[in-house]
């Protein structure tokens, strides 16, 4: 069997190397060694090939991180964070990607956690933060609705104050991982207000509360990670209200602002570039030597240059902090550039697969068992990533919404 997935001794210095002093280099060695053991080989290979990690793979990995206290590096130390510098966190997330680790789901650690320790009651902190830190509680995000996607403030799910509890009715959509989440944070309308953003509140709720129904949405990659969530007369206990009633929109903006560090996926992109180089030295298509194909090499060189620029942009923008000159435009610039690169990389991989790109699933892989694992290693997962990767320019604010934000920063005229 041809060895297509092992790391070769040849390792390119990446952008993180530009940042390292001796202390950070030692830090990286420690993180790298721990993560290597924390991710089972089989998981690493599956993720590297483009398959989404399973719930149990994520849970096992989070438990290993929790053992070192590494689940929520960015949190304040008093709430269980690591106290790492921005640079250490950057090294850490780069190492997560380098090891093809299952990753830390954003919903608990990056999204609701910071909202709770910033705006929540002591009781909410005591109840929810430990489960996020231990990795035992899986969360999902109830923001989008069938009529409220990019225009989130038009949401119609209603939480009526019944004195002692709220009565929740409505529907959420695109709810990632709702089918195995333990808890949900959501936005619902509690009051009629002159500004539509004004009457919105944020709640936290257990997913096993009566009246919640989760229905799967099968995506274009034919996998199930998205859901619709229906609420019919669901009783939210009064202590499920986050912060002040009517301030949900502010908390949502705070929450999305905290998401900024994770949006570029540069580590994964760097790994994809390395995969493309590995793909180029296999003989997947007989008679085709990609290492001598000038069109392929040129495409690879171009996306690699884009990625290098993105890596540097991420360092520059993060190191400026929240008051830097790029604070307004930075997140949107990073998201647009990153979406473009992630999609280009996936396209480039698929474009090299020739007729194999038409095959799909376990039977397809078995049918080519004798080819030394080549389709297994490169085809099926790459198609997953290609298909689901179309969502990168849709979720978290579509490319068009990001452009609206940027234009607002650059132009005096309002549309």
């Amino acid at each position: 069997m041809q060895d297509t997935n092992s790391q070769t001794p040849y390792e390119e210095r990446d952008h993180i190397d530009l940042l390292l002093d001796d202390d950070l280099r030692a830090f990286r060695r420690d993180v790298r060694a721990y993560l290597r053991d924390a991710v089972p080989e089989e998981t690493r290979n599956r993720i590297d090939r483009g398959y989404a990690p399973t719930k149990s793979e994520i849970a096992d990995f989070l438990a290993k991180l929790a053992a070192r206290g590494w689940t929520a590096p960015a949190w304040p130390v008093e709430y269980g964070g690591t106290g790492w510098t921005q640079l250490q966190r950057m090294v850490f997330s780069s190492e997560l990607a380098r090891n093809a680790a299952p990753g830390i789901p954003p919903f608990g650690v990056s999204m609701i956690g910071p909202v709770l320790y910033t705006f929540g009651t002591q009781a909410q902190k005591d109840k929810y933060l430990p489960g996020i830190l231990s990795g035992e509680d899986f969360w999902c995000q109830g923001f989008s609705e069938p009529g409220s996607g990019s225009d989130l403030a038009s949401l119609r799910t209603k939480a009526e104050d019944k004195g002692g509890h709220y009565l929740l009715n409505g529907q959420k959509i695109w709810t990632s991982k709702a089918h195995y989440a333990d808890r949900i944070f959501l936005l619902a309308r509690t009051d009629e207000a002159p500004r539509r953003q004004g009457g919105i509140s944020m709640f936290v709720l257990d997913m096993d509360t009566p009246g919640i129904v989760v229905k799967p949405i099968v995506a274009i990659d034919m996998n199930h990670s998205l859901n619709e969530v229906f609420f019919e007369d669901v009783k939210i206990p009064a202590d499920g209200l986050v912060g002040e009633r009517g301030k949900g929109w502010d908390y949502a903006k705070f929450l999305l602002g905290n998401e900024r560090t994770g949006i570029t996926n540069v580590g994964r992109c760097r790994r994809q570039v390395e995969r493309l180089k590995r793909l180029a030295r296999t003989d997947l298509i007989p008679g085709v030597d990609l290492s001598k194909d000038s069109a392929f090499l040129r495409d690879l060189a171009r996306v690699e240059a884009d990625l290098t620029a993105l890596e540097i942009s991420e360092i520059r923008i993060l190191s400026q902090g929240k008051n830097g000159p790029s604070a307004m435009t930075g997140p949107s610039v990073l998201k647009l550039a990153s979406a473009q690169i992630q999609q280009t990389l996936a396209e480039l991989i698929v474009s090299t697969l020739g007729h194999y790109a038409a095959g799909r699933g376990a039977e397809f892989i078995e049918a080519f068992d004798d080819l030394g694992g080549l389709p297994t290693d490169f085809v099926d997962g790459a198609l997953n990533e290609y298909l689901f990767g179309r969502s990168v320019s849709i979720y978290g604010g579509t490319n068009q919404i990001q452009r609206d934000i940027l234009a607002r920063a650059a132009l005096e005229t309002r549309p």
């Binding site: 690879l300 993105l310 520059r316 647009l336 609206d404 234009a407």
Partner: protein, 369 residues
């Protein structure tokens, strides 16, 4: 030095850049047009501000600053689209000559202007057609260099041979040297050089590895300076464009109210950020004596693409007015075209990087077997 330290300018760098901003702010578009490619008074003012010796050790009359400072200065030059041969003389020639321990005092004080021939501009390798043969008491140079940033005020040349294995320094009045002037697309003077010259032995500054290292140094500084110049030019082109579409009305509202145009502007900001990042990387990679080529190929590729797409969109957003020589935007567009040519174009940079990628893949193949 780590990259983050590089991103934080020193007090001295900050001061010279603030002075540069102030000075260039006083130079109008009409001033630049009127100078027709070179202003002796501006060159003198640059000398007074110490720019020509920016990279030169204080012991030799320079400011002793690093490529990070150079990068900021070149961005200011790009924004003002100054046509003077700052990159050619004060960056490439001064940098290369300093690395060889040569006297650069006349270049630093602004009384002399040097032009690199066969490297630096363009910065993507060696572009010389010159051969050197031993002759009585010296060397005989013959052949041509097709593009050299030389004008009426150029006082000397730094000439590399075709293989990049020897470097010569000669005055502009050298017998047997024919300088055929022509204009660059952005208005600065260029020339084609034809050599049939006898040079004294001491005209040869370096050979072999020493010559190659000096040329590499000149090219590395040139990539950094040109990338910065392009980034400043891009920034200004975007500023002119947003101001124009905020101002100009059609169908009863400003052009900037139309979403199709707003989204084009958004993409310009993405390009600008990429150009800024690549400029920082280029300066950082040029900060030590190592070979930054692998990173610089990517820098050239990405900057050239940003330059091209911003140039095209800026003209498009100016509409018919963008087609006129009267508007400044066309001048910035042409400067971007010049800079792309000096960086070997996106296509050339990608070709260079593709070649090293092929080597890396081959190396991995051998390791895997």
């Amino acid at each position: 030095m780590t990259f983050l330290e590089h991103l934080t300018p020193s007090d001295e760098t900050r001061m010279i850049c603030e002075a540069a901003e102030k000075w260039t702010a006083g130079i109008s578009d009409a001033d630049v047009r009127a100078s027709k490619g070179f202003s002796a008074s501006r060159w003198g003012e640059m000398a007074e501000m110490g720019w020509h010796g920016l990279l030169v050790d204080p012991d030799h009359g320079g400011l002793g600053l690093d490529p990070a400072a150079l990068s900021l200065l070149c961005q200011a030059i790009g924004r003002a689209r100054l046509p003077e041969p700052f990159v050619s003389s004060s960056v490439v020639c001064v940098g290369t000559l300093s690395s060889l321990g040569q006297d650069v005092s006349a270049l630093v004080d602004g009384s002399a202007i040097a032009a690199p021939a066969g490297f630096g501009l363009p910065c993507d390798g060696v572009s010389s057609g010159i051969t050197a043969t031993p002759a009585a008491d010296g060397h005989h140079l013959s052949g041509t260099v097709d593009l050299c940033e030389a004008g009426p005020d150029t006082t000397e040349f730094l000439v590399v041979t075709a293989g990049g294995d020897a470097l010569y320094r000669l005055p502009h009045m050298t017998p047997g040297l024919t300088v055929t002037p022509y204009g660059a697309i952005d208005g600065r003077p260029l020339a084609r050089l034809a050599f049939d010259c006898h040079l004294p032995a001491e005209a040869r500054l370096a050979t072999g590895d020493a010559a190659r290292a000096a040329i590499r140094r000149g090219n590395a500084l040139a990539v950094s300076a040109l990338a910065a110049d392009a980034t400043g030019t891009i920034e200004k082109a975007i500023g002119l464009t947003t101001a124009y579409i905020d101002e100009r009305s059609q169908f009863g509202r400003p052009l900037a109210a139309f979403q199709a145009l707003r989204h084009m502007v958004a993409d310009l900001l993405v390009e600008l950020e990429a150009a800024r990042s690549m400029t920082e990387l280029a300066a950082f990679a040029a900060s030590d004596d190592g070979d930054p080529k692998q990173l610089h190929d990517r820098v050239r590729a990405r900057i050239c693409r940003a330059a091209q797409s911003v140039g095209h969109a800026a003209i498009q957003l100016h509409g018919g007015m963008g087609m006129t020589d009267e508007m400044a935007i066309g001048h910035y567009f042409r400067r971007l075209i010049f800079l792309q040519a000096m960086m070997g174009q996106e296509a050339g940079a990608l070709r260079d990087r593709a070649a090293t990628l092929a080597e890396e893949i081959e190396l991995q193949r051998e390791v895997a077997q």
